[in-house]
Symmetry: C2
Subunit: 219 residues, 2 copies
DNA sequence: CTCTTATGTTAACATTGTTTACATATAAAA
DNA sequence: TTTTATATGTAAACAATGTTAACATAAGAG
């Protein structure tokens, strides 16, 4: 249907675009159908010609959100050109920073409300294209190279993910004054994870002073 | 005002009790004022004679929630009779199990929605009576005894807390099949935290086989 | 005994997501 | 070309929710 005075022409895409941009700025609770209809200049029920419900729209927002999240957090983790520990460290920083910059989207992606659509998205996706899959592959790579202790790679990945997720959650959900300390906390968390996961069988290389400082403590 | 046909007599306490019990079983979203008025046999606006708003009631629920949470998670952490590492380990288990058993209350306490009341509660409380304070004290005790590495005790405590909070969140918010693995994951997480925090200056005692197994790896 | 106060009810509101009946314009069919 | 079907939009109404205002009831103070 073409654009004219009565028909918008590309309303579905515009709903998604506006909602997606909204979630980048404001709280999910504030995203009402009225916001969307006002922003598009349509009636409050127009959305039902393109989505079966508000949740159906939210589901698409979440899919878009995972595309963004994965595209931000996983590339460095997959970049075989860099030392493995550097990739872990950089990704930790990127993960926490993205959560800080997009707290509402982060909560939407990893909260319970739409868990079913997250799990559906994760299960459909090839491991080679989502962030958790990238983490698991990196952990397996680390074990194969003797950098990380041999262990169940799924559980090891979950432990790492949970650590970052917990830190991100405390920061964006306003636990104490944790947000002010976030940079230092990521460093501390990384140091702790490294101590827990790293094997001592192989000499580990890093180009990042902070990371090599952890690996080669001064006597 | 005494109880009779018209006046309930102890309505405020009953609202709180019903709401608190409700949150132990069902989702927060399902706790509507209608639920409370139906359960007490009163009208839907009776609640406004005892609370200025629904949020005001939720705030009291959260205070009660923290009392319960703290009373479950902090005693063992404070129990100087037990070896310190054992107290950390047992508390980790208790923390995760409590979150699993009371997911709705856990989310309410540590989510963002009522962050302001959590922070208010934490700031009013003496460090000696809340769970995070107990953790921080235990960390300081560990540093003084040479069991844990000397470090900023606040940051070290936040790293530990974030790890548990992240694991709890993944479990109760349905991230993958993580809930099924929760017992093993707590063990793995604990092992990792221990590797990150423990000092090597002192011989560390534990009465728990799993924990001493970590501390004294077989050659 | 009167009257103030605490506590409860009823009726109404605005906001929310949603559905139903109707309107409009393009595409397809005759 | 005219008719019809389909896609897309609107208007009006719903129920559920939190909330408020006006009224009702009962206990205690004076």
């Amino acid at each position: 249907m073409k654009r004219n005075d009565y028909h918008h022409g590309n309303l579905k895409e515009e709903f998604l675009k506006i909602a997606f941009e909204f979630i980048h700025k404001e709280d999910v609770d504030k995203l009402t159908l009225k916001v969307l209809s006002d922003a598009t200049g349509t009636s409050r029920s127009a959305i039902y010609r393109h989505f079966s419900s508000k949740d159906a729209l939210m589901e698409e927002i979440i899919r878009l959100g995972f595309e963004e999240f994965d595209s931000v957090t996983s590339p460095i983790l997959r970049d075989q050109e860099q030392p493995l520990v550097d990739r872990f460290y950089k990704t930790s920083k990127i993960y926490i920073n993205w959560a800080k910059e997009n707290p509402n989207l982060y909560r939407l992606l990893f909260g319970r409300r739409y868990a079913y659509i997250r799990e559906e998205t994760l299960s459909i996706k090839d491991e080679s294209c989502d962030a958790f899959g990238a983490l698991k592959h990196a952990v397996e790579e680390g074990q194969e190279k003797g950098i990380l202790k041999k262990d169940d790679s799924l559980k090891q990945s979950v432990v790492i993910w949970a650590s970052l997720h917990g830190l991100a959650s405390l920061i964006i959900d306003g636990f104490m004054n944790v947000a002010e300390l976030s940079d230092e906390l990521v460093d501390d968390m990384f140091r702790s994870l490294l101590a827990g996961c790293v094997s001592n069988k192989v000499k580990i290389i890093s180009t990042i002073p902070f990371v090599s400082g952890i690996l080669e403590p001064k006597p």
